[in-house]
């Protein structure tokens, strides 16, 4: 079915549906994803997926209900609309919340990801050739027993129309890379992963530094193989931006989601230790901690102009000078709780309803140089790159493991250690923040894999951060 036929079907369907319910919205979603994996210089998989469908939202007696279909013919959409209308009419009699058109703004506009060269300019042959070279570059020794080079290239188009006049579209060009070196000898196995998820074009794979970085990745895997285990003890912890990503995500992002605070998520991912009355009062972290919801950062993986209900997205402080100011909740959660939130009601695709999701949640840079932070530590450790994550359903007690550790003794990095882990409690941890790196230490990291919701959804998130130094953290290693 051509794109113009689909558009014509939407317009016709919207006219047909609009007088049968209090309000109706159509969210069309079309996504083309190409994935390639090379392992040990052999092709392992090449896949291309064209996923498209429409989510039909209806409002009946103050209740919002949904039906999604991959059948984009007028008959297919009519069938879905009738399903949405029927079930929503019944559900409206026992609805959990009452909504109005205030929760579905009549926004207009569009968004396009930044890029230098369109992803479509990357032919399969070029992509595979780059990944082959990367796989070879990872092999810095015969001890690198497994070398994986992976890329996921995604072009997404979202178009939204509603009976109240909303009409907007967004186009995303998304790149996820992963380069993995596994080193093994007769005693141990160690791994280093390098990669990122950003909004960009073909230029990411054509980066002239890529192969050098792959070689470094392989060398660090070898280094870990020869390294002693991370020691156990209470010490200062300097966290690199690629691990800060996970720390922010699990212990700031999720607990601040308003739908978790409202209990929607209790049966699945969990609740939150945060109460509505904490906003504006709780000292979440030390005065050095400044955290923003920023969908406007160019090229970050979860940047956008509108969330999936059409709420225009703006940069907002969640935590300023350590104090908790605002939660991560879209227009529906804001109405239910009566507190401000952000534009983050998002759906993973056409087949899921929008719920409160993280997007770009970033820690703002401070003033310390990396060297100054290391010099300030008498007994501590640097940790890079997450490899294990676990936190309780209220987002309090966490334990995270990293791939690569470096001991700091008397202000100097002395040796590399393997299997570094740390654990703690969220508020105590963030209040132990004693230095925040400056803009030179600031990095952007993204991930396509944040899971949440019933039915479940995997969505794109990103977290930029500088290096951050925490005091008196419980650290331990492997057996």
């Amino acid at each position: 079915m051509t794109r113009s036929t689909i558009s014509a079907n939407f317009t016709t369907s919207l006219k047909e549906f609009k007088n049968q319910v209090d309000w109706v919205g159509l969210r069309f979603y079309s996504e083309k994803t190409n994935q390639h994996t090379i392992r040990n210089e052999h092709p392992e998989s090449h896949s291309s997926k064209r996923d498209q469908g429409v989510m039909i939202e209806v409002m009946v007696d103050g209740h919002l209900g949904y039906a999604a279909t991959s059948n984009l013919t007028p008959e297919g959409m009519k069938h879905a609309f009738n399903k949405a209308k029927e079930l929503s009419t019944q559900a409206s009699r026992v609805k959990a919340a009452e909504f109005t058109l205030d929760q579905r703004p009549s926004s207009r506009g569009n968004f396009q990801s930044p890029y230098l060269h369109r992803l479509s300019t990357l032919e399969t042959a070029e992509t595979v050739d780059i990944l082959m070279k990367a796989s070879k570059a990872l092999k810095v020794s015969d001890k690198i027993v497994s070398r994986e080079a992976y890329v996921m290239l995604t072009e997404t188009e979202i178009q939204y129309l509603s009976s109240s006049g909303a009409e907007w579209s967004q186009n995303f060009d998304l790149v996820t890379t992963l380069f993995r070196a596994t080193a093994e000898d007769d005693k141990d196995t160690q791994m280093r992963n390098m990669g990122n998820s950003i909004q960009a074009g073909a230029e990411v794979l054509r980066d002239p530094q890529l192969l050098d970085l792959c070689r470094l990745n392989g060398e660090e895997a070898l280094e870990l193989l020869a390294a002693p285990n991370c020691p156990t003890g209470t010490m200062d912890l300097l966290i690199a931006p690629d691990q800060m990503q996970l720390q922010i995500h699990e212990s700031i992002g999720h607990p601040l989601e308003l739908d978790r605070i409202l209990g929607d998520e209790r049966n699945f991912a969990g609740w939150s230790f945060i109460k509505p009355e904490n906003f504006g009062h709780l000292q979440y972290g030390s005065h050095l901690l400044n955290v923003v919801f920023d969908p406007s950062e160019q090229g970050q993986f979860a940047s956008y102009a509108f969330d999936d209900v059409g709420n225009p997205a703006t940069r907002e402080y969640l935590i300023k000078n350590g104090k908790l100011l605002r939660g991560l909740g879209g227009l529906e959660s804001q109405k239910r709780l009566g507190i401000p939130g952000v534009a983050n009601q998002r759906a993973s695709s056409w087949n899921r309803a929008p719920i409160d999701r993280m997007a770009n949640i970033n820690v703002e840079p401070g003033t310390a140089t990396l060297d100054e932070m290391i010099k300030s530590v008498k007994h501590g450790i640097v940790m890079k790159t997450n490899k294990s994550w676990s936190i309780d359903d209220y987002r309090n007690k966490f334990q995270f493991g990293c791939e690569y550790g470096q001991l700091i003794e008397d202000g100097e990095i002395t040796q590399t250690v393997k299997n570094p882990n740390y654990r703690g409690r969220t508020l105590q941890f963030w209040n132990s923040l004693k230095a925040v790196g400056n803009a030179q230490t600031y990095e952007n990291h993204g991930s396509p894999y944040c899971g949440k919701g019933e039915p479940s959804q995997i969505i794109r998130v990103a977290h930029s951060s500088p290096y951050c130094l925490f005091s008196n953290i419980e650290v331990f290693g492997g057996v």
Partner: protein, 441 residues
């Protein structure tokens, strides 16, 4: 034309258009599911999803590409799209290097299975759940509908599987105290659901007692089947994969190599007799109906798919692409249900675990949290619910000398996974009594 007929029409048309040196597998996955999300026993969101996908796996001269698209279930539209992808695959294939570990398609036979259900629809769906739940604070998800899967290849293979089923995955709350249950099956029986709710409410009443705060340390624990199910999710992370073993990321490598062992009380198998999921994988290969993975503490078989079989010269047991268990069963033992508390004596009754991950993969060490109804027991009597605790344990400790007893009953834990699509499958698991379970925070 129903979706099976459309799928057959598309597949046959494509097979007829193949060149002599080409081979093709065509796969179908369709779902019509009603999802209703509940909070405080009221409907938070209802979403009906009709999604269909057709996938092509194209082989030519040792090169393979996967192409898939969202189907309309219209024989003309879908064939047009499928043909476009076939042309694309044909053009792209010569640009790929040859894959030395590719296993050519063969005819793995024919199979057909359909499990008809009796599910809730429309008005009855909402009322059947909201009415008995109205006096409780319930959160959860109802998911029910038809799932169909088809798989054919140009060598003559032909499989079809249909399943009408549902689950109601819910938890009941008293403030922050909660109990969890799943009611699932092929036919909704109102009395069974109400009995499940009643039983959960009774369990919740126990949670009213003042909470006991535990200090970190080692405790004797009973893991109920749902907690064992969470523990076994870790086997999905490379634990039983031949490829993971060969690439150094298999957490049970030391078990496979005989350096460590589990207790002779521990046996695990893949058992497709459970009937929860089809035996055929993405390539239409049929796994054995039953295969022992771990027998009396010794690892007998890793899961091996065609690619690993060829790459590493291993016997193929037709595992799926990720080499994870699809129909896991752990053998029962001798501990009777009415003797669990007595045999636990003093320790923790853990109904559920949460958010597990490897803390030291090479030593099969796992961290995670207790969740829901976890209780402190003294001298065989339930004393109090506990404040949730973080644990950090090695499977080589808790499933070897630490494994004291296994229950003589098993519980089916149906898959409630709904990422991207509603998944089928499940596990059949007993409970386990374990000594020296280590809590850290």
């Amino acid at each position: 034309m129903n979706q099976r007929e459309v799928f057959n029409h598309v597949a046959e048309a494509l097979f007829n258009e193949l060149h002599q040196d080409e081979a093709l597998t065509v796969d179908f996955r369709g779902e019509d599911t009603d999802y209703v999300r509940w909070n405080q026993s009221k409907v938070r969101q209802n979403t009906s999803v009709g999604q269909k996908e057709i996938s092509l796996v194209f082989d030519k001269n040792g090169r393979r590409l996967n192409k898939s698209f969202s189907a309309q279930v219209d024989k003309e539209w879908d064939l047009v799209e499928a043909r476009k992808l076939l042309v694309e695959a044909r053009e792209e294939a010569p640009n790929l290097p040859q894959d030395p570990f590719l296993v050519p398609f063969v005819n793995n036979g024919t199979s057909e299975a359909h499990f008809e259900g009796k599910l809730l629809q429309g008005a009855s769906l909402i009322e059947a759940i909201s009415k008995p739940a109205r006096d409780h604070d319930m959160a959860g998800l109802y998911a029910g509908g038809l799932i169909e899967m088809g798989n054919r290849n140009s060598k003559g293979q032909n499989h079809w599987f249909g399943n009408e089923s549902f689950f109601m995955d819910y938890s009941l709350y008293n403030g922050e105290r909660a109990v969890k249950a799943v009611y699932a099956g092929f036919q909704w029986k109102q009395h069974d659901f109400e009995d499940s709710l009643h039983e959960s409410a009774m369990q919740l009443a126990v949670m009213n007692r003042p909470r006991k705060k535990l200090e970190p340390g080692k405790y004797r624990v009973y893991l109920a089947p749902a907690a064992v199910s969470e523990l076994t999710t870790m086997f999905d992370w490379g634990g039983l994969s031949a490829r993971a073993y060969k690439t150094g990321t298999c957490a049970l490598k030391k078990l496979k190599d005989g350096e460590r062992k589990f207790s002779s009380k521990f046996s695990m198998s893949e058992n497709f007799h459970l009937g929860l999921t089809p035996r055929f994988n993405q390539l239409g290969e049929l796994a054995p109906e039953k295969m022992t993975l771990i027998k009396e503490g010794q690892l007998e078989h890793l899961l091996v798919n065609s690619r690993s079989a060829k790459e590493y010269g291993l016997p193929n047991n037709h595992a799926n692409e990720r080499e994870v268990p699809r129909a896991m069963e752990i053998a029962p033992g001798t501990l009777k249900e009415n003797e669990i508390l007595k045999h636990l004596g003093t320790g923790l009754y853990l109904s559920n675990l949460h958010y597990l991950n490897w803390s030291d993969l090479q030593n099969a060490r796992i961290t995670g949290m207790t969740r829901y109804a976890c209780l402190w027991v003294e001298n065989g009597e339930v004393v109090a619910p506990i404040e949730d605790m973080r644990f950090d344990v090695s499977l080589y400790d808790i499933l070897d000398e630490g494994l004291l007893e296994v229950t003589d009953f098993q519980r089916v834990d149906p898959s409630i996974a709904t990422y991207m699509q509603r998944e089928l499958g499940g596990k059949n698991l007993p409970g386990m009594l374990i000594k020296d379970f280590s809590f850290t925070l």
